[in-house]
Protein backbone atom coordinates (compact mmCIF):
# COMPACT_ATOMS: atom_id res chain seq x y z
CA UNK A 1 0.00 0.00 0.00
CA UNK A 2 2.70 2.41 1.01
CA UNK A 3 4.85 1.39 -1.86
CA UNK A 4 1.99 2.01 -4.17
CA UNK A 5 1.66 5.59 -2.98
CA UNK A 6 5.38 6.13 -3.16
CA UNK A 7 5.41 4.90 -6.69
CA UNK A 8 2.47 6.99 -7.82
CA UNK A 9 4.03 10.10 -6.34
CA UNK A 10 7.58 9.55 -7.36
CA UNK A 11 7.41 10.26 -11.09
CA UNK A 12 5.89 13.70 -10.50
CA UNK A 13 8.03 14.64 -7.51
CA UNK A 14 10.00 17.71 -8.28
CA UNK A 15 13.35 17.37 -6.55
CA UNK A 16 14.16 15.22 -3.56
CA UNK A 17 12.28 12.01 -2.97
CA UNK A 18 13.82 11.05 0.36
CA UNK A 19 11.10 9.84 2.67
CA UNK A 20 10.99 11.54 6.07
CA UNK A 21 7.97 9.78 7.42
CA UNK A 22 5.56 7.03 6.44
CA UNK A 23 2.02 6.83 7.73
CA UNK A 24 0.67 3.28 7.82
CA UNK A 25 -3.01 2.51 8.48
CA UNK A 26 -3.26 5.38 10.92
CA UNK A 27 -6.49 5.54 12.87
CA UNK A 28 -7.42 7.90 15.65
CA UNK A 29 -10.37 7.90 17.95
CA UNK A 30 -11.43 10.16 20.77
CA UNK A 31 -14.11 8.68 22.96
CA UNK A 32 -16.40 6.90 20.57
CA UNK A 33 -15.69 9.20 17.67
CA UNK A 34 -13.52 7.77 14.94
CA UNK A 35 -11.73 10.88 13.75
CA UNK A 36 -9.18 9.27 11.41
CA UNK A 37 -9.78 6.14 9.38
CA UNK A 38 -6.98 4.08 7.93
CA UNK A 39 -4.70 6.78 6.60
CA UNK A 40 -1.69 5.88 4.46
CA UNK A 41 0.67 8.55 3.28
CA UNK A 42 4.31 9.49 2.95
CA UNK A 43 6.00 12.70 3.93
CA UNK A 44 8.89 13.72 1.69
CA UNK A 45 11.94 15.24 3.28
CA UNK A 46 12.46 18.98 2.85
CA UNK A 47 9.25 19.32 0.92
CA UNK A 48 6.00 21.01 1.84
CA UNK A 49 3.05 18.68 2.22
CA UNK A 50 -0.35 20.32 2.50
CA UNK A 51 -3.39 18.75 4.14
CA UNK A 52 -6.62 20.14 2.75
CA UNK A 53 -10.28 19.32 3.14
CA UNK A 54 -13.54 20.74 4.47
CA UNK A 55 -13.94 21.68 8.16
CA UNK A 56 -14.11 18.66 10.43
CA UNK A 57 -12.43 16.34 7.93
CA UNK A 58 -9.71 15.49 10.45
CA UNK A 59 -6.80 17.30 8.87
CA UNK A 60 -5.79 19.07 12.09
CA UNK A 61 -6.33 15.87 14.06
CA UNK A 62 -4.02 14.11 11.61
CA UNK A 63 -1.37 16.81 11.93
CA UNK A 64 -1.50 16.68 15.71
CA UNK A 65 -0.71 12.95 15.64
CA UNK A 66 2.77 13.82 14.37
CA UNK A 67 3.81 15.48 17.63
CA UNK A 68 1.58 13.36 19.87
CA UNK A 69 -0.42 16.43 20.85
CA UNK A 70 -3.45 14.23 21.54
CA UNK A 71 -1.58 12.70 24.48
CA UNK A 72 -2.38 15.84 26.43
CA UNK A 73 -6.05 14.98 26.60
CA UNK A 74 -7.72 11.92 28.06
CA UNK A 75 -9.55 9.19 26.15
CA UNK A 76 -7.62 9.45 22.90
CA UNK A 77 -6.52 6.35 21.03
CA UNK A 78 -4.06 6.00 18.19
CA UNK A 79 -3.93 3.02 15.86
CA UNK A 80 -1.52 2.14 13.06
CA UNK A 81 1.86 3.79 12.78
CA UNK A 82 3.71 6.95 11.86
CA UNK A 83 7.24 5.84 11.04
CA UNK A 84 9.86 8.53 11.45
CA UNK A 85 13.08 8.27 9.49
CA UNK A 86 16.05 7.95 9.81
CA UNK A 87 15.17 6.16 13.07
CA UNK A 88 12.64 3.89 11.39
CA UNK A 89 10.66 4.10 14.59
CA UNK A 90 6.89 4.33 15.08
CA UNK A 91 6.37 7.60 16.94
CA UNK A 92 2.92 6.47 18.11
CA UNK A 93 4.35 3.49 19.93
CA UNK A 94 3.82 3.54 23.70
CA UNK A 95 7.58 3.01 24.07
CA UNK A 96 8.25 6.32 22.42
CA UNK A 97 8.37 9.36 24.71
CA UNK A 98 6.02 12.04 23.35
CA UNK A 99 8.33 14.70 24.76
CA UNK A 100 11.21 13.30 22.68
CA UNK A 101 8.95 13.38 19.63
CA UNK A 102 8.09 17.02 20.28
CA UNK A 103 11.78 17.81 20.73
CA UNK A 104 12.25 16.86 17.07
CA UNK A 105 8.93 17.78 15.53
CA UNK A 106 7.90 21.38 16.19
CA UNK A 107 4.54 23.02 15.69
CA UNK A 108 3.09 26.40 14.77
CA UNK A 109 -0.52 26.97 15.73
CA UNK A 110 -3.58 28.55 14.21
CA UNK A 111 -3.59 31.52 16.55
CA UNK A 112 -0.24 33.12 17.32
CA UNK A 113 0.51 31.98 20.88
CA UNK A 114 3.62 33.76 22.13
CA UNK A 115 4.38 33.22 25.81
CA UNK A 116 4.09 36.08 28.29
CA UNK A 117 7.82 36.71 28.01
CA UNK A 118 10.20 38.90 26.09
CA UNK A 119 10.80 38.35 22.39
CA UNK A 120 14.21 36.88 23.18
CA UNK A 121 12.90 34.51 25.85
CA UNK A 122 10.10 33.34 23.58
CA UNK A 123 12.59 32.16 20.98
CA UNK A 124 14.97 30.83 23.61
CA UNK A 125 12.19 28.83 25.28
CA UNK A 126 12.83 25.53 23.54
CA UNK A 127 16.58 25.90 24.03
CA UNK A 128 16.17 26.51 27.74
CA UNK A 129 13.84 23.50 27.97
CA UNK A 130 16.69 21.50 26.46
CA UNK A 131 18.97 22.73 29.20
CA UNK A 132 21.02 25.24 27.20
CA UNK A 133 22.15 27.98 29.56
CA UNK A 134 25.19 29.56 27.90
CA UNK A 135 24.25 33.10 26.97
CA UNK A 136 26.42 33.13 23.86
CA UNK A 137 24.82 29.98 22.44
CA UNK A 138 21.34 31.25 23.25
CA UNK A 139 22.03 34.59 21.60
CA UNK A 140 23.41 32.99 18.49
CA UNK A 141 20.56 30.52 18.12
CA UNK A 142 17.91 33.12 18.82
CA UNK A 143 19.37 35.45 16.22
CA UNK A 144 19.54 32.64 13.65
CA UNK A 145 15.98 31.59 14.30
CA UNK A 146 14.72 35.15 14.05
CA UNK A 147 16.63 35.64 10.80
CA UNK A 148 15.17 32.42 9.41
CA UNK A 149 11.72 33.60 10.40
CA UNK A 150 12.36 36.93 8.63
CA UNK A 151 11.78 38.81 11.85
CA UNK A 152 15.30 39.77 12.93
CA UNK A 153 15.43 43.15 11.26
CA UNK A 154 12.14 44.20 12.83
CA UNK A 155 12.92 43.16 16.39
CA UNK A 156 16.69 43.23 16.81
CA UNK A 157 16.54 46.51 18.75
CA UNK A 158 13.82 45.41 21.10
CA UNK A 159 14.53 41.83 21.98
CA UNK A 160 13.59 42.52 25.59
CA UNK A 161 10.15 43.87 24.75
CA UNK A 162 7.14 41.79 25.68
CA UNK A 163 6.15 39.57 22.75
CA UNK A 164 2.53 40.74 23.01
CA UNK A 165 3.56 44.14 21.73
CA UNK A 166 4.19 42.69 18.27
CA UNK A 167 1.55 42.71 15.56
CA UNK A 168 -0.38 39.53 14.75
CA UNK A 169 1.79 38.67 11.76
CA UNK A 170 4.97 39.38 13.71
CA UNK A 171 3.70 37.23 16.58
CA UNK A 172 3.15 34.36 14.18
CA UNK A 173 6.64 34.75 12.74
CA UNK A 174 7.92 34.83 16.32
CA UNK A 175 6.17 31.52 16.93
CA UNK A 176 7.84 30.18 13.79
CA UNK A 177 11.20 31.42 15.07
CA UNK A 178 10.48 29.74 18.39
CA UNK A 179 9.77 26.48 16.59
CA UNK A 180 12.88 26.85 14.40
CA UNK A 181 15.28 27.69 17.22
CA UNK A 182 15.62 24.06 18.23
CA UNK A 183 16.40 22.85 14.69
CA UNK A 184 13.38 20.58 14.29
CA UNK A 185 13.30 17.88 11.61
CA UNK A 186 9.65 18.42 10.82
CA UNK A 187 7.69 21.62 11.25
CA UNK A 188 3.92 21.30 11.60
CA UNK A 189 1.75 24.25 10.64
CA UNK A 190 -1.87 24.17 11.76
CA UNK A 191 -3.68 26.77 9.63
CA UNK A 192 -0.94 29.29 10.42
CA UNK A 193 -2.52 32.18 8.57
CA UNK A 194 -6.19 31.84 9.41
CA UNK A 195 -5.95 34.56 12.06
CA UNK A 196 -3.90 36.92 9.91
CA UNK A 197 -4.61 39.63 7.37
CA UNK A 198 -3.69 39.13 3.69
CA UNK A 199 -0.34 40.95 3.91
CA UNK A 200 0.81 39.01 6.95
CA UNK A 201 -0.45 35.85 5.24
CA UNK A 202 1.68 36.56 2.20
CA UNK A 203 4.80 37.00 4.34
CA UNK A 204 4.15 33.74 6.19
CA UNK A 205 3.63 31.90 2.90
CA UNK A 206 6.86 33.30 1.54
CA UNK A 207 8.58 32.19 4.70
CA UNK A 208 7.24 28.65 4.37
CA UNK A 209 8.57 28.47 0.83
CA UNK A 210 11.99 29.67 2.04
CA UNK A 211 12.06 27.25 4.95
CA UNK A 212 11.59 24.11 2.95
CA UNK A 213 15.30 23.91 2.14
CA UNK A 214 15.93 23.52 5.84
CA UNK A 215 13.08 21.50 7.23
CA UNK A 216 10.31 19.12 6.26
CA UNK A 217 6.99 20.93 6.43
CA UNK A 218 3.45 19.70 6.95
CA UNK A 219 0.78 22.34 6.67
CA UNK A 220 -2.94 22.18 7.33
CA UNK A 221 -4.90 24.80 5.47
CA UNK A 222 -8.49 25.36 4.51
CA UNK A 223 -7.35 27.78 1.87
CA UNK A 224 -6.88 25.82 -1.34
CA UNK A 225 -4.99 28.62 -3.07
CA UNK A 226 -2.56 28.58 -0.19
CA UNK A 227 -2.01 24.85 -0.60
CA UNK A 228 -1.48 25.34 -4.32
CA UNK A 229 0.98 28.18 -3.72
CA UNK A 230 3.19 26.74 -1.00
CA UNK A 231 3.07 22.95 -1.20
CA UNK A 232 4.82 20.28 -3.23
CA UNK A 233 2.45 17.51 -2.19
CA UNK A 234 -1.17 17.73 -1.26
CA UNK A 235 -3.40 15.35 0.62
CA UNK A 236 -7.14 15.77 0.34
CA UNK A 237 -9.10 14.51 3.32
CA UNK A 238 -12.79 14.03 3.84
CA UNK A 239 -14.66 12.65 6.88
CA UNK A 240 -11.49 11.31 8.49
CA UNK A 241 -10.30 9.56 5.37
CA UNK A 242 -7.47 10.36 3.03
CA UNK A 243 -9.20 10.58 -0.33
CA UNK A 244 -6.26 11.46 -2.51
CA UNK A 245 -2.58 12.18 -2.07
CA UNK A 246 -0.33 13.31 -4.87
CA UNK A 247 1.98 15.96 -6.17
CA UNK A 248 0.25 19.30 -5.69
CA UNK A 249 0.13 20.10 -9.41
CA UNK A 250 -1.58 16.81 -10.14
CA UNK A 251 -4.11 17.29 -7.37
CA UNK A 252 -5.00 20.73 -8.64
CA UNK A 253 -4.83 20.13 -12.37
CA UNK A 254 -6.07 16.62 -12.91
CA UNK A 255 -7.16 14.91 -9.70
CA UNK A 256 -7.95 11.25 -10.10
CA UNK A 257 -10.78 11.22 -7.63
CA UNK A 258 -14.14 12.82 -8.40
CA UNK A 259 -14.57 13.98 -4.77
CA UNK A 260 -11.22 15.75 -4.84
CA UNK A 261 -12.12 17.40 -8.10
CA UNK A 262 -15.45 18.60 -6.69
CA UNK A 263 -13.71 20.10 -3.68
CA UNK A 264 -10.89 21.69 -5.65
CA UNK A 265 -13.27 23.26 -8.13
CA UNK A 266 -15.38 24.61 -5.30
CA UNK A 267 -18.44 22.53 -5.98
CA UNK A 268 -18.62 21.74 -2.27
CA UNK A 269 -16.72 22.32 0.93
Amino acid sequence: MVNEIMQTTRPGASTSSTIKSVVNNLTFRYGDFQALKDINMVVHEKQVTALIGPSGCGKSTFLRCFNRMHDLYPDNHYGGEIILHPDNENILSPNVDPIEVRMRISMVFQKPNPFPKSIFENVAYGLRIRGIKRRSILEEKVENALRNAALWEEVKDRLNDLAFNLSGGQQQRLCIARALATDPEILLFDEPTSALDPIATASIEELITDLKNKVTILIVTHNMQQAARVSDYTAYMYMGELIEFDVTDTIFIKPKNKQTEDYITGRFG
Binding site: N67, M69, L72, P74, I99, E100, R102, M103, S106, M107, F109, Q110, K111, N113, P114, F115, P116, K117, Y125, G126, R128, I129, R130, F164, C175, R178, A179, T182
Partner: protein
Protein backbone atom coordinates in the same frame (compact mmCIF):
# COMPACT_ATOMS: atom_id res chain seq x y z
CA UNK B 1 -45.54 34.29 -2.70
CA UNK B 2 -44.39 34.63 -6.21
CA UNK B 3 -44.06 38.37 -5.83
CA UNK B 4 -41.87 38.16 -2.74
CA UNK B 5 -39.69 35.65 -4.53
CA UNK B 6 -39.37 38.07 -7.39
CA UNK B 7 -38.52 40.99 -5.15
CA UNK B 8 -35.88 39.01 -3.30
CA UNK B 9 -34.44 38.03 -6.62
CA UNK B 10 -34.39 41.68 -7.67
CA UNK B 11 -32.72 42.61 -4.39
CA UNK B 12 -30.03 40.06 -4.96
CA UNK B 13 -29.44 41.40 -8.42
CA UNK B 14 -29.22 44.86 -6.89
CA UNK B 15 -31.90 46.24 -9.16
CA UNK B 16 -33.90 48.92 -7.34
CA UNK B 17 -37.36 47.61 -6.56
CA UNK B 18 -38.96 51.02 -6.62
CA UNK B 19 -38.72 52.68 -9.93
CA UNK B 20 -40.65 55.81 -10.76
CA UNK B 21 -43.73 53.94 -11.80
CA UNK B 22 -43.99 52.07 -8.44
CA UNK B 23 -46.26 53.30 -5.68
CA UNK B 24 -44.73 53.43 -2.20
CA UNK B 25 -47.43 51.45 -0.40
CA UNK B 26 -46.12 47.90 0.01
CA UNK B 27 -47.28 45.67 2.87
CA UNK B 28 -48.72 47.43 5.95
CA UNK B 29 -46.28 47.94 8.86
CA UNK B 30 -46.62 45.45 11.72
CA UNK B 31 -45.24 47.78 14.44
CA UNK B 32 -45.30 51.53 14.60
CA UNK B 33 -42.10 53.42 15.21
CA UNK B 34 -43.35 55.78 17.98
CA UNK B 35 -41.09 56.35 20.94
CA UNK B 36 -42.30 53.96 23.67
CA UNK B 37 -42.22 56.08 26.87
CA UNK B 38 -43.48 53.27 29.06
CA UNK B 39 -40.70 50.96 28.05
CA UNK B 40 -38.02 53.57 28.57
CA UNK B 41 -39.47 54.60 31.93
CA UNK B 42 -39.36 50.99 33.09
CA UNK B 43 -35.76 50.71 31.93
CA UNK B 44 -34.91 53.88 33.83
CA UNK B 45 -36.47 52.62 37.07
CA UNK B 46 -34.46 49.42 36.83
CA UNK B 47 -31.32 51.41 36.20
CA UNK B 48 -31.92 53.53 39.30
CA UNK B 49 -32.52 50.45 41.47
CA UNK B 50 -29.30 48.90 40.24
CA UNK B 51 -27.45 52.12 40.92
CA UNK B 52 -28.81 52.30 44.46
CA UNK B 53 -27.62 48.78 45.16
CA UNK B 54 -24.14 49.66 43.95
CA UNK B 55 -24.20 52.99 45.76
CA UNK B 56 -25.21 51.36 49.03
CA UNK B 57 -22.03 49.33 49.34
CA UNK B 58 -19.86 52.29 48.43
CA UNK B 59 -21.75 54.43 50.94
CA UNK B 60 -21.21 51.91 53.74
CA UNK B 61 -17.50 51.76 52.96
CA UNK B 62 -17.18 55.51 53.15
CA UNK B 63 -19.32 55.64 56.30
CA UNK B 64 -16.96 53.22 58.03
CA UNK B 65 -13.91 55.14 56.91
CA UNK B 66 -15.53 58.40 58.06
CA UNK B 67 -16.33 56.95 61.46
CA UNK B 68 -12.82 55.56 61.91
CA UNK B 69 -11.17 58.80 60.93
CA UNK B 70 -13.42 61.12 62.93
CA UNK B 71 -13.16 59.01 66.10
CA UNK B 72 -9.42 58.65 65.61
CA UNK B 73 -9.10 62.42 65.38
CA UNK B 74 -10.55 62.63 68.88
CA UNK B 75 -7.91 60.13 69.98
CA UNK B 76 -5.12 62.09 68.38
CA UNK B 77 -6.23 65.21 70.27
CA UNK B 78 -5.01 63.43 73.42
CA UNK B 79 -2.12 61.47 72.02
CA UNK B 80 0.40 62.85 69.58
CA UNK B 81 0.97 61.01 66.33
CA UNK B 82 4.63 60.86 67.26
CA UNK B 83 3.93 59.03 70.48
CA UNK B 84 1.49 56.73 68.69
CA UNK B 85 4.08 55.72 66.13
CA UNK B 86 7.24 55.61 68.23
CA UNK B 87 6.32 54.58 71.77
CA UNK B 88 7.25 50.96 72.36
CA UNK B 89 4.48 50.23 74.85
CA UNK B 90 0.75 49.88 74.43
CA UNK B 91 -0.88 50.15 77.84
CA UNK B 92 -3.87 52.44 77.35
CA UNK B 93 -5.85 50.88 80.17
CA UNK B 94 -3.11 51.11 82.79
CA UNK B 95 -2.59 53.98 85.15
CA UNK B 96 0.74 54.63 83.48
CA UNK B 97 -0.81 54.78 80.02
CA UNK B 98 1.34 54.40 76.91
CA UNK B 99 -0.07 54.66 73.41
CA UNK B 100 2.55 53.16 71.10
CA UNK B 101 0.94 51.10 68.35
CA UNK B 102 4.21 49.29 67.52
CA UNK B 103 3.68 46.29 69.84
CA UNK B 104 0.32 45.61 68.20
CA UNK B 105 1.75 46.10 64.71
CA UNK B 106 4.62 43.72 65.44
CA UNK B 107 2.19 41.09 66.70
CA UNK B 108 0.11 41.49 63.56
CA UNK B 109 3.11 41.40 61.24
CA UNK B 110 4.73 38.35 62.86
CA UNK B 111 1.55 36.28 63.03
CA UNK B 112 0.69 37.24 59.43
CA UNK B 113 4.20 36.44 58.24
CA UNK B 114 4.04 32.98 59.80
CA UNK B 115 0.60 32.44 58.26
CA UNK B 116 1.77 33.53 54.81
CA UNK B 117 4.88 31.36 54.98
CA UNK B 118 2.46 28.47 55.32
CA UNK B 119 -0.37 29.61 53.05
CA UNK B 120 1.40 31.04 50.00
CA UNK B 121 3.78 28.16 49.17
CA UNK B 122 1.25 25.47 50.08
CA UNK B 123 -1.63 27.26 48.38
CA UNK B 124 0.40 27.77 45.23
CA UNK B 125 1.58 24.18 45.16
CA UNK B 126 -1.98 22.93 45.57
CA UNK B 127 -3.12 25.26 42.79
CA UNK B 128 -0.41 24.03 40.42
CA UNK B 129 -1.35 20.45 41.15
CA UNK B 130 -5.09 20.97 40.75
CA UNK B 131 -4.80 23.13 37.67
CA UNK B 132 -2.03 21.38 35.72
CA UNK B 133 -1.65 17.85 37.02
CA UNK B 134 -4.77 16.53 38.72
CA UNK B 135 -7.05 14.33 36.65
CA UNK B 136 -10.56 15.67 36.25
CA UNK B 137 -12.11 13.43 38.93
CA UNK B 138 -9.45 14.24 41.53
CA UNK B 139 -9.96 17.94 40.98
CA UNK B 140 -13.73 17.65 41.20
CA UNK B 141 -13.45 15.83 44.53
CA UNK B 142 -10.54 17.77 46.04
CA UNK B 143 -11.77 21.27 45.32
CA UNK B 144 -15.00 21.18 47.36
CA UNK B 145 -13.12 19.67 50.29
CA UNK B 146 -10.52 22.38 50.09
CA UNK B 147 -13.19 25.03 49.99
CA UNK B 148 -14.82 23.38 53.00
CA UNK B 149 -11.62 24.25 54.86
CA UNK B 150 -12.53 27.88 54.27
CA UNK B 151 -16.03 27.30 55.63
CA UNK B 152 -14.91 26.20 59.10
CA UNK B 153 -15.71 28.96 61.64
CA UNK B 154 -12.56 30.83 62.65
CA UNK B 155 -13.30 30.29 66.31
CA UNK B 156 -12.90 26.56 65.71
CA UNK B 157 -9.51 27.23 64.17
CA UNK B 158 -8.67 29.30 67.22
CA UNK B 159 -9.32 26.44 69.60
CA UNK B 160 -7.63 24.03 67.22
CA UNK B 161 -4.52 26.20 67.52
CA UNK B 162 -4.74 26.58 71.28
CA UNK B 163 -5.65 23.03 72.25
CA UNK B 164 -4.05 20.94 69.53
CA UNK B 165 -1.30 22.75 67.66
CA UNK B 166 0.25 24.50 70.66
CA UNK B 167 0.71 21.26 72.68
CA UNK B 168 2.10 19.64 69.54
CA UNK B 169 4.57 22.49 69.07
CA UNK B 170 5.50 22.32 72.75
CA UNK B 171 6.81 18.81 72.14
CA UNK B 172 9.21 20.27 69.56
CA UNK B 173 9.96 23.52 71.39
CA UNK B 174 9.73 22.64 75.09
CA UNK B 175 9.70 26.21 76.44
CA UNK B 176 7.00 27.46 74.10
CA UNK B 177 4.40 29.34 76.13
CA UNK B 178 0.72 28.43 76.07
CA UNK B 179 -0.02 31.38 73.84
CA UNK B 180 2.25 32.06 70.87
CA UNK B 181 2.28 33.88 67.56
CA UNK B 182 3.79 30.77 65.98
CA UNK B 183 0.88 28.50 66.78
CA UNK B 184 -1.72 31.11 65.85
CA UNK B 185 0.16 31.95 62.64
CA UNK B 186 0.48 28.33 61.55
CA UNK B 187 -3.21 27.66 62.00
CA UNK B 188 -4.12 30.95 60.35
CA UNK B 189 -1.96 29.85 57.42
CA UNK B 190 -3.89 26.59 57.13
CA UNK B 191 -7.08 28.59 57.25
CA UNK B 192 -5.98 30.86 54.41
CA UNK B 193 -4.75 28.05 52.12
CA UNK B 194 -8.13 27.53 50.43
CA UNK B 195 -8.42 31.22 49.54
CA UNK B 196 -4.97 31.30 48.01
CA UNK B 197 -5.20 27.94 46.25
CA UNK B 198 -8.70 28.44 44.94
CA UNK B 199 -8.02 31.88 43.44
CA UNK B 200 -4.60 30.89 42.14
CA UNK B 201 -6.06 27.81 40.52
CA UNK B 202 -8.84 29.85 38.90
CA UNK B 203 -6.24 32.24 37.54
CA UNK B 204 -4.09 29.43 36.19
CA UNK B 205 -7.00 27.58 34.70
CA UNK B 206 -8.14 30.68 32.85
CA UNK B 207 -4.89 30.64 30.87
CA UNK B 208 -6.00 29.54 27.40
CA UNK B 209 -5.13 26.02 26.33
CA UNK B 210 -3.39 27.18 23.16
CA UNK B 211 -0.68 28.79 25.29
CA UNK B 212 -0.04 25.51 27.09
CA UNK B 213 -0.06 23.63 23.81
CA UNK B 214 2.59 26.02 22.53
CA UNK B 215 4.79 25.03 25.42
CA UNK B 216 4.12 21.30 25.17
CA UNK B 217 4.79 21.44 21.44
CA UNK B 218 8.29 22.70 22.22
CA UNK B 219 8.94 19.54 24.21
CA UNK B 220 8.24 20.98 27.64
CA UNK B 221 7.04 18.79 30.51
CA UNK B 222 3.94 19.55 32.53
CA UNK B 223 5.98 21.09 35.32
CA UNK B 224 8.03 23.26 32.97
CA UNK B 225 4.83 24.41 31.30
CA UNK B 226 3.22 25.22 34.64
CA UNK B 227 6.20 27.17 35.97
CA UNK B 228 7.48 28.85 32.83
CA UNK B 229 4.30 29.59 30.90
CA UNK B 230 1.10 29.16 32.90
CA UNK B 231 2.25 30.98 36.05
CA UNK B 232 3.72 34.01 34.27
CA UNK B 233 0.56 34.19 32.18
CA UNK B 234 -1.65 34.25 35.24
CA UNK B 235 0.56 36.45 37.36
CA UNK B 236 -2.05 39.14 37.89
CA UNK B 237 -4.57 36.63 39.17
CA UNK B 238 -1.96 35.02 41.38
CA UNK B 239 -0.99 38.43 42.75
CA UNK B 240 -4.65 39.08 43.53
CA UNK B 241 -4.84 35.75 45.35
CA UNK B 242 -1.75 36.55 47.40
CA UNK B 243 -3.03 40.00 48.28
CA UNK B 244 -6.33 38.53 49.41
CA UNK B 245 -4.39 36.04 51.53
CA UNK B 246 -2.32 38.83 53.09
CA UNK B 247 -5.40 40.91 53.82
CA UNK B 248 -7.09 37.93 55.43
CA UNK B 249 -4.03 37.23 57.57
CA UNK B 250 -3.68 40.82 58.71
CA UNK B 251 -7.38 41.17 59.46
CA UNK B 252 -7.92 37.76 61.04
CA UNK B 253 -9.21 38.07 64.59
CA UNK B 254 -10.47 34.96 66.35
CA UNK B 255 -7.47 32.69 65.86
CA UNK B 256 -4.98 35.23 67.17
CA UNK B 257 -7.27 36.41 69.95
CA UNK B 258 -7.58 32.85 71.22
CA UNK B 259 -4.16 31.38 70.53
CA UNK B 260 -1.66 34.25 70.47
CA UNK B 261 -2.54 35.86 73.76
CA UNK B 262 -3.88 39.28 74.65
CA UNK B 263 -0.69 40.85 75.93
CA UNK B 264 0.76 43.63 73.73
CA UNK B 265 4.39 42.72 73.28
CA UNK B 266 6.90 44.38 71.00
CA UNK B 267 8.66 41.36 69.57
CA UNK B 268 9.69 39.82 66.26
CA UNK B 269 10.03 36.38 67.79
CA UNK B 270 7.14 34.10 66.77
CA UNK B 271 7.59 31.85 69.79
CA UNK B 272 6.44 34.63 72.11
CA UNK B 273 2.86 35.51 72.93
CA UNK B 274 1.67 38.88 71.66
CA UNK B 275 -1.58 40.67 70.91
CA UNK B 276 -2.37 41.75 67.40
CA UNK B 277 -4.34 44.85 66.45
CA UNK B 278 -7.46 42.80 65.91
CA UNK B 279 -7.08 40.91 69.17
CA UNK B 280 -6.75 44.18 71.02
CA UNK B 281 -9.89 45.60 69.43
CA UNK B 282 -11.87 42.50 70.41
CA UNK B 283 -10.57 42.68 73.93
CA UNK B 284 -11.44 46.33 74.40
CA UNK B 285 -14.79 46.29 72.65
CA UNK B 286 -15.91 43.40 74.81
CA UNK B 287 -14.91 45.16 78.01
CA UNK B 288 -17.07 47.84 79.58
CA UNK B 289 -15.14 50.99 78.88
CA UNK B 290 -17.11 54.21 79.12
CA UNK B 291 -18.12 55.62 75.77
CA UNK B 292 -15.92 58.55 74.83
CA UNK B 293 -13.08 57.68 77.20
CA UNK B 294 -9.56 57.67 75.81
CA UNK B 295 -9.41 53.89 76.21
CA UNK B 296 -12.50 53.59 74.09
CA UNK B 297 -11.05 55.89 71.44
CA UNK B 298 -7.95 53.72 71.12
CA UNK B 299 -9.86 51.03 69.28
CA UNK B 300 -10.62 53.46 66.49
CA UNK B 301 -7.00 54.50 66.17
CA UNK B 302 -6.02 50.82 66.11
CA UNK B 303 -8.77 50.08 63.60
CA UNK B 304 -7.61 52.89 61.37
CA UNK B 305 -4.06 51.53 61.47
CA UNK B 306 -5.36 48.13 60.44
CA UNK B 307 -7.40 49.65 57.63
CA UNK B 308 -4.38 51.54 56.34
CA UNK B 309 -2.31 48.35 56.40
CA UNK B 310 -4.81 46.34 54.37
CA UNK B 311 -5.43 49.31 52.11
CA UNK B 312 -1.71 49.50 51.37
CA UNK B 313 -1.71 45.82 50.37
CA UNK B 314 -4.79 46.27 48.23
CA UNK B 315 -3.24 49.20 46.40
CA UNK B 316 -0.06 47.22 45.92
CA UNK B 317 -2.11 44.36 44.51
CA UNK B 318 -3.94 46.69 42.21
CA UNK B 319 -0.68 48.13 40.90
CA UNK B 320 0.78 44.66 40.40
CA UNK B 321 -2.30 43.63 38.51
CA UNK B 322 -2.08 46.67 36.29
CA UNK B 323 1.61 46.15 35.69
CA UNK B 324 1.31 42.48 34.80
CA UNK B 325 -1.95 42.79 32.93
CA UNK B 326 -2.48 39.60 31.00
CA UNK B 327 -2.79 39.84 27.26
CA UNK B 328 -3.15 36.64 25.34
Amino acid sequence: MKLSYLSSLLKRMRIPIHNTKDTLVGTPATRNLRYDYKRHLKERVIEILLFLAAFFSVFITFAIIYMLISESLVFFEHVSLREFLTDTQWTPLFDDAHYGILPLVSGTVVSSAVALLVALPLGTTIAIYLSEFAPFTVREIAKPFLELLGGIPTVVYGYFALLFVTPLLQMLIPDLPGFSLLSAGLVMGIMIIPYVSSMTEDAMRSVPMHLREGSYAMGATRFQTAIKVVMPASLSGIAAAYILGISRAVGETMVVAIAAGMQPNLTWDPTEPAATITAYIVQVSLGDLPHGSIGYQTIFAAGLTLLLMTLAFNILGHLLRKYYREVY
